[in-house]
């Protein structure tokens, strides 16, 4: 069965050029790759991120890749994050103004019906190194990572091996990684589900082991597909030390608050299916991911991009992303006062019945008489909670499960996720020399 009839529109010299490129075993010489002719590649970008009324982030990134004649390449990447603004504490909004006294004695007041937030300022630096060394059909990639912020340090390494099979039409990828992180909350680590007045000093460890296996395959001359599965095991301090859970009185009004508490292990799994389809000039990218973990979160993510060529060096790529997750078993909009406390509880909206939609696009172009490619990406993200949109109706709370987290049945149904508007702009520049 022949799926692809020979194209009568492609001239012979085009075919010969393709064959020559493949004989040289260099993907860089195909098509419009003249800009990538050098041995060194510089990629830079700057992310501007802002949430309405909350956090603002500026994140510059620079990545340098040096390729050697034997196919090896070394990459070094530096990312800096400057974060300012305010983050939701997890406390429940109230019909009256809330004044809270922290463990350090300072007080903060939140207006009526507003989501209680806590101001913060942080700076993060991250370094990543990659070493790619092709050995025939096998390509191992060794990576190392280190990042540091005021209250968090991460050290990690990973090894991923790609194996080309069936005349390079199929690629099998297998890999694993390990991160050793340390969480050192400012002001000490509070005891979970307490008033936060007692704190221990020092750092808390968090270990993250991950594994992946994937298969990508050329289906036709225009179509490439892939499936990747990942498994992540986290152990250690997984609680957010600055988040709280409100205590609600008999009519649901917040009267006090406790620090949150999460389990000390989490197993996360995901399967992602991807497709890239080449039309006459344009390319359609589609990705779907299903995710589940043992905290009770399940999620679906659908991502769609369409790269539309506007000219030989100019393109526009619209992007749509849709996301939906169920809430964690111990997620709570507030704990009822006077009822025995559950084993675990968190009001972090990221563990709630969250929905998210992204709309945006990337414009790529070359400046006249200048090497390299410039990109400008602008996106809008809207997050909301299932059942919480608009009028603040109550969210859905599933029945208690049959494990230790069933003690959350004492939680009170309450509006859980306040809508968030996020805008992002990414400026990028890539050049080979």
């Amino acid at each position: 069965m022949q799926l692809d009839a020979p194209s009568p529109t492609r001239p012979l010299r085009h075919r010969l050029r393709s064959a020559a490129c493949l004989l040289l075993a260099s993907g860089a010489c195909a098509g419009k790759a003249t800009a990538q002719s050098g041995n060194t590649q510089l990629d830079t970008s700057t992310l501007f991120y802002t949430e309405r009324g909350r956090t603002t982030v500026v994140e510059p990134m620079v990545r340098l890749t040096r390729s050697l004649s034997d196919g090896q390449s070394f990459s070094a990447q530096l990312v800096l994050d400057a974060m300012t603004g305010a983050s939701p504490t997890g406390a429940t909004p109230s019909k009256i103004a809330q004044t809270v006294t922290s463990a350090s004695g300072s007080t903060s007041t939140t207006e009526a019906l507003k989501v209680p937030v806590s101001p913060f300022r942080d700076f993060r630096g991250a370094l990543d190194f990659d070493w790619v060394r092709p050995l025939g059909l096998v390509t191992p990639t060794t990576s190392a990572h280190v990042s540091r912020e005021r209250d968090y340090r991460s050290l990690g390494a990973s090894e991923v091996v790609s194996i080309d099979l069936m005349q390079r039409l199929t690629t099998l990828t297998v890999g694993g990684g390990y991160n050793s992180d340390e969480v050192t909350p400012i002001g000490g680590t509070p005891i979970g589900l307490s008033d936060g007045s007692v704190r221990t000093q020092g750092s808390n460890s968090k270990r993250v082991a991950s594994g992946t296996i994937g298969l990508s395959r050329v289906l036709t001359r225009r179509w490439l597909v892939g499936v990747t599965g990942t498994r992540i095991a986290e152990r250690g301090y997984l609680t957010e030390p600055y988040k709280v859970v409100s205590l609600l009185d008999s009519v649901g009004t917040p009267s006090d608050q406790l620090t949150e508490k999460r389990p000390e292990s989490r197993s996360r799994s995901g399967i992602e299916a991807s497709s890239a389809y080449h039309l006459d000039q344009d390319v359609v990218y589609t990705t779907y991911r299903y995710y589940w973990d043992d905290w009770g979160i399940r999620s679906h993510t659908l991502d769609f991009k369409y790269r539309h060529e506007l000219g030989s060096t100019t393109y526009f790529t619209p992007h749509v992303r849709l996301y939906a997750q169920t809430q964690a078993d111990f997620f709570s909009g507030g704990l009822q006062q006077g009822v025995p406390l559950p084993t675990f509880a968190s009001a972090d909206y990221r563990l709630g019945p969250l929905r998210s939609g992204t709309l945006g696009g990337t414009f790529g172009f070359h400046l006249p008489k200048s090497p390299g490619e410039l990109t400008l990406r602008v996106e809008y993200i809207h997050q909301w909670g299932k059942g919480d949109r608009g009028d603040g109706e109550t969210g859905d709370v599933e029945g208690p499960s049959d494990d230790h987290r069933s003690s959350v049945s004492s939680t009170v149904t309450h509006p859980t996720v306040a809508p968030v508007d996020i805008g992002t702009v990414v400026l990028g520049y890539s050049v080979g020399f």
């Binding site: 050329v218 597909v225 991911r289 990337t362």
Partner: protein, 77 residues
């Protein structure tokens, strides 16, 4: 749990279909791979954008992963 089996089954089905399609894929001769050799013809066309997105959504949602291993942790308040 049954939903997980369903998803895993679907993933296996895709792999099997991809494998069964081997004969068709074999018709993609080396001299017919000009489109596949283009830089934009990748499942992740821009690793830089992907890394930025992974960091954003890791800090704003309850899910992560799906592609690759390693990478940096963060406090992500």
């Amino acid at each position: 749990m049954s939903s997980h089996r369903g998803v895993l089954g679907a993933a296996l089905l895709i792999i099997v279909i991809a494998g069964m399609n081997g004969c068709a894929a074999m018709s993609v001769h080396p001299w017919d791979r000009d489109l596949l050799a283009e830089k934009k013809m990748k499942l992740v066309p821009s690793p830089t954008e992907r890394a930025i997105d992974d960091h954003i959504y890791f800090s704003k949602e309850g899910s992560t992963g799906g592609q690759g291993v390693g990478g940096g942790g963060c406090g992500c308040n």
